[in-house]
Symmetry: C2
Subunit: 364 residues, 2 copies
C-alpha cells in the first residue's frame, strides 16, 4: 500500500546512488525502482535469487518496482537485433551477447521479486516515423500478452506499458488494446526521451485521460519538479526518474524558487542552509558554505547530502500535491508552485537532455 | 575528555571521507583529525572562522585535533623554500604561493578552533642524512617555542612534535628539549613515512619510553591494526592515519584474521556479512555479496559501507586494548591478536607504501 501521487527514486543497480535504505526511509520514500537490465548483468539474477530476492539483497523492506529491461536494452545496450521472439543485445559493460524475451523478462523479475513488475516493451526513438513507431507498438502489445501468460507468481502486480510515441492516434490504439487485457496498472512509456516538453504534456494528458481511473497510471522517466506537478494535473499517479539524484551529484539543488547550483561562488560564504525552510537532514545540519566546500573538494559526502536534499524536496512535493488533492485545492497548489518555481529555459533543457541521452552515465 | 588509547580518523578537508558526523558517532568515534594545510587552501580560514569554527562548520561536537600543516607542506606542496622564519610553498591545487610560519600556524589553528592543536614542524624524508635531520630537528625546536609564545587561546591544548628521524640520539635530544618546555602533549612525528616497520617500532619504543607518563603520547600517521597494537604496547596513547579509510575505498576490509579484499570473486556469492561477528552497521545490514556487487559497479555506497566497517574495526580494536589494559591483560590481548591477524608481507607493504607516498590521492 503506497500513497499516490508518488515519486520513485531510481536504484538501477540495487542502490539509490550514495544512500542507504535507512536514509531513504528517513526522507520518507515509500517505493523505489530498480532495473532488471542492470541487475541481470551485475550481480546476475541467480545471486539475487539466492539472497531471497532484491528486497533482502539490498535490505529494503518497503515497496519496490522493477523495470523490465526494455528501455535499457533499446537505449544503453549495443548491437541490438529485434524480432518478434525478443531482442538480442550486447552488454554495455563487456560486450557479451544476451537474449531478452518477454518470458525471460518475467522470469527475471519473478526471481528479483519486486512488488510491481513491468512488461517487456520495444522503445522507439522520439523522432522515429509513424510506421516505425506503429511496428514497435504492435510488437509491444504481443509481448505484453506473452508477459501476462508467462507470469507465475500471483503476489506481484504486472503493469503494461502504453507506447505509440508522439502520435495521438497510436497512443489511443495502444491504451485501448492494453486496457482490454486487464493489467494491474498502466504505464506511459516512450516519453521524456528528447521530445519538446509541450509534446510530453499533451501526449500525457490525452493518454492519461483514457486510462482506467481505478488503476495506477505511471508516467515513466519523469522527472523534474515542474513536470511532476504537470503530470499530476493530468491524472498521473506514479513517476520515476534519475534526474533528481543525477543533478544532485552535479551540484544542482531544488528549492521552491527553482534549481540552484551549489558550486556557484555566491554559496561559498552562505552560513544559512541551501533552503532555510527545508526540513531535510542536509539543511537541518549543514550550511550552504559547507556544502559548497564539499563540492569544491569533490568530497563524496557532497553527493550524499545533495541527493538527500533533492529526494526530500521531490517527496515533499508529491506529499503536498496529495494533501492539496484531498483538500480539493490542487489547482491553486499547482498555480502557486509554478508561479514561484523558475524552470530551466526550454531550449537549454532540450539541449542538455539530448546531450545527456547521448553521453550519459551508463548506470542509471 | 577522551579515553585512551584512541585512534583519530582523518578528516583532512573537514569531512571524514564519505561519512556524516552522525555515522562517526554511531561507530563510537570520540575524536577526529583535520588538516590546517587543506582547510587553509579550501575553504579558507576566514570561512571557517565566520562559521564559528570547524566544529560548527562540519557539525562535529566531539573532540577535534588539527595538524599544523607542517607535514602536508613538506609532503604535498610544491617548490618549498624553508628558512628559519618559515616555509614558502606552492599549493598542490592551483600552484598559488603561500607562507606558513609558526605564528601563522597557531593563528590559523586558533581560528579553526580544534581542541588539540599542533606545533609547526619541519619533516625530513625517512632516508635523509643525520646532518639534514638534525638541522630540521633544531628548526622544529625553535618553531615549537615560537608556537608556544604565539598561542593566545587558553582553551586549546598545544602538542609538541618530537623529530629526529631514524636516529635514536636525535630523538632523545629532541624529546629532552621539548619536554623541558612543558607542552600539553607530545607527538612523535616523522615515522611511518617509508622506513622499514622494525625501525618505526624501535624508534617509537625508545622515544615513548622517555616521554612524560602524565601527558598524552601521540604517534602520528599510524596506521594499520597491527601497528596500533604494537604502538600501544610501547606506551602510545593516540594514533591517526588515513589508512583505514583509504584502503576501505579500495575494497580492503579489516577482520580479526587480517585484511580481505571484497573485490575478490570469492565474495560474489557470500550471503554472510564480511565478518559475521562484527557489530558494525555494514555487517549488521548487508551481505558480503551485496558489498562485492557495489564495489564491482563502482557505486558510491560501497565506499561508505567499507569505511564504516574499517573505522568500526579500528575503534573496537583500541577499545578492546583499553579494556585489556584496565584488566592488566594487555600482553595476552596483544599476543592473541597478533597470532590471529595475518599481516601484509613486509616487502609488499613497503613497496605499496612508497608507491602510495609518490602517487597518492592529494586530499588525505
Amino acid at each position: 500500500m503506497v500513497p499516490t501521487p508518488i515519486f520513485l527514486p531510481v536504484g538501477s543497480q540495487g542502490t539509490v546512488k550514495t544512500l542507504t535504505p535507512e536514509e531513504l526511509k528517513d526522507i520518507g520514500i515509500p517505493m523505489i525502482l530498480a532495473n532488471t537490465y542492470h541487475l541481470y548483468l551485475r550481480p546476475g539474477i541467480e545471486v539475487i535469487e539466492r539472497a531471497g530476492g532484491l528486497h533482502k539483497f539490498m535490505n529494503w523492506d518497503r515497496a519496490l518496482l522493477t523495470d523490465s529491461g526494455g528501455y535499457q536494452v533499446f537505449s544503453l545496450a549495443r548491437l541490438r537485433q529485434v524480432n518478434d521472439d525478443g531482442v538480442v543485445f550486447r552488454s554495455h559493460i563487456d560486450g557479451s551477447q544476451h537474449l531478452l524475451t518477454p518470458e525471460l523478462a518475467i522470469q527475471f523479475q519473478e526471481a528479483i521479486g519486486a512488488d510491481v513488475i513491468m512488461v517487456l516493451d520495444e522503445c522507439p526513438a522520439h523522432d522515429d516515423s509513424l510506421e516505425k513507431v506503429r511496428r514497435a507498438m504492435n510488437r509491444t502489445h504481443r509481448w505484453a500478452e506473452r508477459c501476462q501468460k508467462a507470469q507465475q507468481r500471483k503476489d506481484q502486480a504486472l503493469f503494461a506499458i502504453v507506447q505509440g510515441g508522439v502520435y495521438p492516434q497510436l497512443r489511443r490504439q495502444s491504451l485501448e488494446y492494453l486496457t482490454s487485457s486487464g493489467f494491474a496498472g498502466y504505464a506511459i512509456g516512450g516519453l521524456s526521451i528528447g521530445e519538446p516538453k509541450q509534446v510530453t504534456l499533451d501526449i500525457t494528458e490525452e493518454t492519461a485521460a483514457l486510462l482506467p481511473e481505478d488503476k495506477p497510471r505511471y508516467l515513466m522517466g519523469v522527472g523534474s519538479p515542474e513536470d511532476i506537478v504537470e503530470g499530476i494535473a493530468r491524472g498521473i499517479d506514479m513517476f520515476d526518474s534519475a534526474l533528481p539524484t543525477r543533478v544532485a551529484r552535479n551540484g544542482a539543488l531544488f528549492t521552491w524558487r527553482g534549481r540552484h547550483n551549489i558550486e556557484n561562488a555566491a554559496y561559498s560564504q552562505m552560513e544559512q542552509p541551501v533552503d532555510s525552510d527545508c526540513n531535510c537532514y542536509t539543511c537541518r545540519h549543514f550550511s550552504a558554505a559547507y556544502l559548497h566546500h564539499l563540492f569544491n573538494c569533490h568530497e563524496l559526502l557532497a553527493y550524499r547530502l545533495a541527493t538527500i536534499h533533492n529526494l526530500y524536496f521531490i517527496n515533499n512535493l508529491v506529499c503536498k500535491a496529495r494533501a492539496a488533492i484531498l483538500d480539493g485545492a490542487f489547482s491553486s497548489f499547482r498555480d502557486s508552485f509554478l508561479a514561484e518555481y523558475k524552470t530551466t529555459d526550454e531550449q537549454i533543457r532540450l539541449k542538455q537532455k539530448q546531450k545527456w541521452l547521448k553521453s550519459r552515465n551508463r548506470s542509471e
